[in-house]
């Protein structure tokens, strides 16, 4: 499914260069649920953004389903079947929840009404009622509601590889429990891989594999039960 080969990600600040990701190689198979964890600043979110193409690798290759996507744009990667959930959901003045889900489901602008998607069901999956469909994606929604809409937009993609960057951030306990159920269900799809950046034990525990990052490198990886000491689970 996804093969990261010797990935480097360097940011430049004037004459200074800082390596965020260093010579990192990682494979994710179809049907696999991989959780990436590690201390703040270890490069987790940068890695997630590299997979979606929001950050571009300074060196190395990204292979997705046998295709080199290293130079592909965000749009091209989305069309190949990669979806990404932002850690900080984005506000859109003038766009409704329905608009966002429709764009996600159809990869088209919302000039035409899409009747083929069950948006109510999508919202129910993340614990929101259908009343939210016409709500604007602005500061009238709470942080937790925005986060749930963000996750629903990723689920609407029906992607082969879903990358979630700290889905627990800004979400209330009730929603988080529901979110964990969503991940359990996604885990049962054999043709779909999930990569989750998380600090939460309940998410790490349902992963097939946990990858621990430190200073932009893989410090350890394995089944959650084999990493109890490293994770202090």
């Amino acid at each position: 499914m996804l093969d990261l080969q010797n990935i480097e990600f360097v940011v430049k600040n004037g004459a200074k260069r800082r390596a965020i990701i260093q010579d990192l190689s990682l494979s994710v198979k179809a049907g696999e649920f991989v959780a990436i964890t590690g201390p703040n600043g270890s490069g987790k979110s940068s890695l997630a953004r590299l997979i979606m193409g929001i950050n571009r690798a300074s060196a190395g290759k990204l292979i997705f389903n046998g295709q080199d996507i290293t130079e592909k744009t965000i749009t091209e990667r989305a069309k190949l079947g990669i979806a990404y959930s932002f850690q900080q959901p984005v506000y859109f003045k003038g766009l409704s929840v329905r608009d966002l889900l429709q764009v996600a489901a159809t990869a088209k602008e919302t000039f035409l009404q899409d009747t083929g998607t069950d948006y109510e069901k999508l919202l129910a999956t993340v614990g929101l009622s259908q009343d939210y469909l016409e709500r604007q994606i602005d500061n009238s929604l709470s942080g937790g509601e925005l986060k749930r809409v963000e996750i629903a937009s990723v689920l609407a993609r029906g992607a082969k590889l879903m990358v979630f960057d700290e889905p627990e951030a800004g979400i209330d306990i009730w929603s988080f429990a529901r979110l964990t159920d969503v991940f359990r269900k996604l885990h049962k799809k054999p043709d779909c891989a999930v990569v989750v950046i998380s600090h939460q034990k309940s998410i790490l525990n349902i992963a097939d594999r946990v990858v621990i990052l430190k200073d932009g490198k893989i410090q350890a990886q394995g089944r959650p039960e084999d990493l109890k000491e490293e994770l202090a689970l």
């Binding site: 929001i54 984005v90 506000y91 003038g94 764009v103």
Partner: protein, 305 residues
């Protein structure tokens, strides 16, 4: 009913949302002349030296008046006055769009002065769409809207000018009596080297009067926009003015909101925000499969909806 060519029919659809003669009262103006007029039982459309007069009888409900203006002749300059006298306890919609198609070398200019006298407890919805097209010289529209509201009345003004108009000077003013309310929703998109100025002044003279003004605009390319709003509170009243603008390319936008409270019980608020499209918004929509151009278009269209 007048004969319209294909371009004129297209303009009519753009500005009035109709394909031909509408139901109810109307006045169609084409290239400086009235080419169709009809009154209804409750709405009389007539002319006087003061301009076109539309009298809505008291207690009229659910009727729509169309007064579209189409200019397809290059070099035409006109000043039109429309006076609306709305009786008490009415509920009417007025659709008053103007479209210019100019394929010639001279500017075409439409200046429209719309005066509304809204009776007690009446509700008026006023929709004004402006549209410009054609490869020729200037398409210029300068509307003036004046509203006087009696006690308990409600007026909603929706104006929309999305592309095609080279220059506009828009002036809207309202005077509200006790318990009157006005909502003003302005949508504006300029591009190329177009310029647009909009000035909205509301005087909340009556007790418990309310004004809510929201302007949303997008300035693209090298276009320029200037938005001024002024709410004056002369009584216990509530006023809110909001100006949001997206600025793109080399455009320039100025927003000058102003509040003037002349009574301690006047509650007046203004908000103004100008900024480019946030990079994260584009990135989010691209991550859902849109191209950068599609993402920008989706954001702009949603913002102006």
């Amino acid at each position: 009913m007048m004969d319209l060519d294909e371009i004129e029919q297209q303009i009519l659809r753009e500005v009035a949302g109709i394909d031909g003669r509408p139901e109810g009262a109307y006045n169609f103006r084409l290239n400086g002349k009235s080419v169709g007029r009809q009154s209804s039982t409750n709405i009389e459309v007539s002319t006087s030296p003061d301009g076109l007069n539309i009298h809505v009888a008291p207690h009229t409900h659910g009727e729509v008046v169309h007064i579209p203006v189409i200019i397809s002749a290059s070099g035409l300059t006109e000043l039109v006055r429309n006076n609306f006298y709305i009786g008490q306890d009415c509920e009417v919609t007025i659709v008053a769009g103007c479209g210019i198609y100019n394929c010639g070398t001279k500017d075409s200019v439409h200046d429209g002065v719309h005066s509304f006298y809204v009776g007690k407890n009446s509700r008026v919805r006023y929709i004004e769409k402006h549209y410009g097209a054609g490869p020729g010289a200037g398409k210029i529209l300068n509307p003036v809207t004046r509203v006087e509201q009696e006690p308990g009345s409600y007026v909603e003004i929706q104006t929309e000018q999305l592309r095609g108009v080279d220059s506009t000077r828009r002036e809207t003013s309202a005077l509200l009596a006790n318990d009157a309310k006005i909502l003003i929703r302005e949508r504006l998109l300029t591009h190329g080297r177009q310029d647009a100025e909009s000035t909205i002044r509301v005087e909340l003279a009556g007790r418990n009067s309310v004004a809510d003004i929201v302007s949303r605009s997008v300035a693209q390319d090298e276009s320029r926009q200037l938005f001024r709003s002024q709410i004056t509170g002369k009584n216990a009243c509530r006023g809110h003015s909001e100006c949001d603008a997206i600025i793109m390319n080399k455009a320039q936008v100025s927003a000058i909101p102003s509040l003037d409270a002349q009574c301690p019980d006047a509650e007046l608020i203004h908000e103004a925000a100008i900024g480019k499209i946030a990079g994260e918004q584009i990135t989010k929509l691209m991550s859902l499969g849109l191209s950068r151009a599609q993402a920008e278009s989706q954001i702009v269209n949603g913002f102006l909806r």
